[in-house]
Amino acid sequence: MNKIFIIIRREYLTRVKNKTFLLTTFLLPIVFLLFIVGSTFLAVKSKTVDTIAVITEANLFKQALKSDSTIVIFDFTHSVTTDNYLYKGYSGILRIPSDSSHQKFVIESPKTLSMETMDYIKWQINNVIENNMLKQLRIDENVLDSISTASENAFQLTNELTTGEEANAGLAYGVGFGSGILIYLTMFIFGAMVMRGVMEEKTNRIAEVMVSSVKPFQLMMGKIIGIAAVGLTQLVLWILFIILLLSAVQLFIPSDVVEQFKQIQEMQQQLPGGSSNTVAFELLQAKATFISEVNWSLIISCFLFYFLGGYLFYASLFAAVGSVINEDPQEAQSLMLPITLPIIFAFIMLAPSIENPDSSLAFWGSMIPFTSPIIMMGRIANGVPEAVPYWQLFLSMILLIGGFILTTWFAGKIYRTGILLYGKKASWKEMIKWIRRS
C-alpha cells in the first residue's frame, strides 16, 4: 500500500510541476475570460433597435403595446405595406388580427429578428391580451383556462419570410451538453496521458527495474490514480478559477454594458423562459441566475463521479494498450481504435440523448459503462428525479463502478505481460490469450 502511495505521489508531482500543466490550468480560464469580455463588448456595440410597423384594427393594442427604446419601437401606421416597409425604415411589420382568439398574429421581416426582439414582442402581446381578458371577466377557474388558451394563440407568432429558429437551446441543454463534452475531452486527455506514461516506462526500459520492486499492478494503479488526482486538481482549479473570474467579470466590462445587462435582467424576472442572444449575456446571466436555477451541487458532484468513473473505466484500457506498444507510435493508432470508438460513439449519442432524455437510446446509453459517463451527464442536467429517476442514476453508477473493476482486472493482466515484452508488437488476439492464461 505504501509503495502505491509513493508511485502515486511521483506520478502526481511530476505532472503538476510540469509547465504545460500550469499553463493549461491558468491560461485557459483567462482565454475564456477574454472571450467573454470580447464578445460582450462586441454584442453590445452591435446592438440595434428594431422599429416595427404595427397594422391593427384593434384600439386595444394601439393603446397598450409599449415600446422600449433599447429594444423595439412600435409604430402604428396605415401607410405601410409588405412592399414598402423596408424602404420606409422599418425592420418588420406586425399584423394583429381583429379577432385575436381565432386568427394568427403575423410578423413579416426579411431577416430573423433577434431573439430578444421576438421575446419582447411576444411578451407585450401576451401582456395586452391577458390584461384585457382579466379586465373583461371575473376570475374563476374557467377564466384562468381561457387566459392560457389565449396566450397560446398569441405565441403562434409566425415569421413568414424566414422560419425563425428556436435560438435558445435552453439552460439544461447547455449544461448537459457542456458537461458531456467536458467528460468526453477529459477522458481522452487523461486517458492518453496514462497511455503515454506507460509507453514512456516501456521505451525508457525502466519497467523491468520498477517491477523488480513493485508489482506490475501496483505500478499501473499508481499511475492511473496519480493521473486521476492530476485531473481532479485541474478540474477543481478550473471551477474555482471560473467562479472567481465570473465574480470579477463586472470589473472588466464597461459600465454601460453592465447597465444594459441589469435592465435585461429585470425584464427577465418578469419573463420566465426568456433569453438573450449573445454568449456574453448568457454568461452574465449564468452568474446571476443560473446559480439559483440549476442544482449545481448535484451537477458538480455527479460530474466528478462520472469523470472519475469514466476515467478509471478507460484509463486501465489505455494503460494496457500503452504496455504493448513499442517505439512505433503508429502501432498505437490501430490498437487504440477499439477503445476510442465507444467514446466517440457516446459523443455522437450525446445530443439526441439530451433532446429525448426518456428515449431508449438515452436510457441504455446511460446504463452501459462504455458510454454512461458522457450520456448520463447529458441527461442529469434536465433534472433528477424529473428526467432521470433515482434508480436509474444509482444503477448507472453501480454499473460504472463494476465496469471499471472489470476493465482494470483485464487490463492488469495484459499490462503485466506487455510491459516486459520488448521488440515485439502484440495483437489483440495475443492479449486475449494472456488474459486467459493467467
Binding site: T14, N204, E208, S212, S213, L420
Partner: protein, 310 residues
C-alpha cells in the same frame, strides 16, 4: 549456507520451454556467474528469482526459506539487461524514488545516496536530468540505485555494457567490496573474460537447461586437454618422441600435448636430458570462452520455436 536455492525450476511460454528443469544453488558471499548464449533462458530465470515471474513448477529458496516475492524483493537488487531511468526526472529525485520503493525511509535513503554519489564523484549531478547524462554516466547511476538499499543478493545482467575501462573497474571494485561485506552477487553475461576475472562459481545454461555447474577452477580442470607451453632459449629440433606431440609454436615456445599415460615430468626429462635450456614450463588451461563455445557449438545459435504440449 546457500542464500539461494533453485530447485527444478520450470517456466514454459506459449512457444518455448524458456526454463526447463534447472536446479543450482548460490553460496552466500560468492560471486556467481550465470552464463549462456542469447535466448538460453537466463533472463526468464532471473525474472523468477526477482519475483517478476512465477515459476510454473519447482521452487526457489531464499535465505533458507521459500521465496516470498512480496517481502523478499527488498533484499534483492536487480539490474536488468533492459534497463533505464525516467528521462525527465532529476537524478537525485530518481535515486530517492527507487530507494523508497525498496522500502528505505527518506532520510536513510538520502544519506545512502549522498555516500554513493561521493564515492562515484557524482555530487554535482543531483539536479541534472537523466536525459543530460551520457550512457556511461547513467549506467553508474543505475548501479547505485541497484545497490543502494543494502540488498543481500545483487543480480547484475550485463553490468559493464556501455562502460569505459575506467568506469568498469570502478564498478568491478565495488562489486568486490560488496562481496567482501557478505553480499552475494549473481552476474549474468556472455562476456567470458569478465566472468573469468570476477566469478567464483559458474552455471552455464543453454536451451533452458543447465549444462555446466561448478567452481571456475574445477570447470577449467574438467575441460583441460593436457596442453603445456615450454619456453626455450633457442627452439630445439624435435625428434620423434612418444611422451608428447607438438600442437603449435609461438615465439620461443612450443605448445605440446602430453599423451595419455605420461606426466609433465616425462616431458621435462626429455628436454633436460638433451641439455636444452628451458625458460618456462606451464600448463595451458582452457579459457572459459573455449569451454563456452565447445559446449554451445553445434546447437543452433538461435533457439527455434517449438510447440509445447502441456
Amino acid at each position: 549456507m546457500p542464500i539461494l536455492e533453485i530447485q527444478n525450476l520450470k517456466k514454459h511460454f506459449a512457444t518455448q520451454k524458456a526454463v526447463d528443469d534447472i536446479s543450482f544453488e548460490v553460496k552466500k558471499g560468492s560471486i556467481f556467474g550465470l552464463l549462456g548464449p542469447n535466448g538460453a533462458g537466463k533472463t526468464t530465470l532471473l525474472r523468477m528469482i526477482t519475483g517478476i515471474f512465477y515459476p510454473d513448477e519447482g521452487q526457489i529458496l531464499f535465505d533458507g526459506k521459500i521465496f516470498d516475492p512480496n517481502n523478499d524483493v527488498i533484499h534483492i537488487g536487480y539490474m536488468p539487461e533492459e534497463r533505464g531511468l525516467y528521462k525527465k526526472m532529476k537524478i537525485g529525485e530518481q535515486a530517492l524514488y527507487l530507494a523508497q520503493l525498496k522500502g528505505l525511509k527518506k532520510d536513510e535513503a538520502m544519506s545512502q545516496i549522498k555516500e554513493w554519489f561521493v564515492k562515484f564523484e557524482m555530487q554535482s549531478w543531483w539536479n541534472k536530468k537523466v536525459e543530460d547524462l551520457s550512457k556511461g554516466m547513467s549506467q553508474k547511476l543505475q548501479f547505485v540505485t541497484t545497490v543502494l538499499h543494502h540488498p543481500k543478493l545483487i543480480i547484475l545482467d550485463e553490468p559493464f555494457s556501455g562502460l569505459d575501462p575506467v568506469n568498469s573497474n570502478l564498478i568491478k571494485d565495488e562489486i568486490y567490496k560488496l562481496s567482501e561485506k557478505g553480499c552475494t552477487v549473481i552476474f549474468s553475461t556472455h562476456r567470458m573474460e569478465q566472468v573469468e576475472e570476477i566469478c567464483d562459481h559458474i552455471v552455464l545454461v543453454n536451451k533452458g537447461k543447465k549444462i555446466l555447474d561448478g567452481s571456475l577452477n574445477q570447470v577449467k580442470n574438467d575441460f583441460k586437454e593436457s596442453l603445456f607451453s615450454i619456453g626455450f632459449e633457442e627452439k630445439p629440433l624435435l625428434k620423434g618422441n612418444i611422451a608428447f606431440e607438438l600442437i603449435g609454436t609461438k615465439d620461443q615456445s612450443y605448445i605440446i600435448k602430453i599423451k595419455e599415460g605420461f606426466k609433465p615430468n616425462d616431458v621435462l626429462n626429455y628436454f633436460l636430458s638433451s641439455g636444452i635450456q628451458i625458460n618456462s614450463f606451464h600448463e595451458i588451461l582452457p579459457s572459459l570462452n573455449d569451454i563456452f563455445i565447445k559446449l554451445v557449438e553445434g546447437t543452433p545459435l538461435t533457439r527455434q520455436f517449438q510447440p509445447i504440449n502441456s
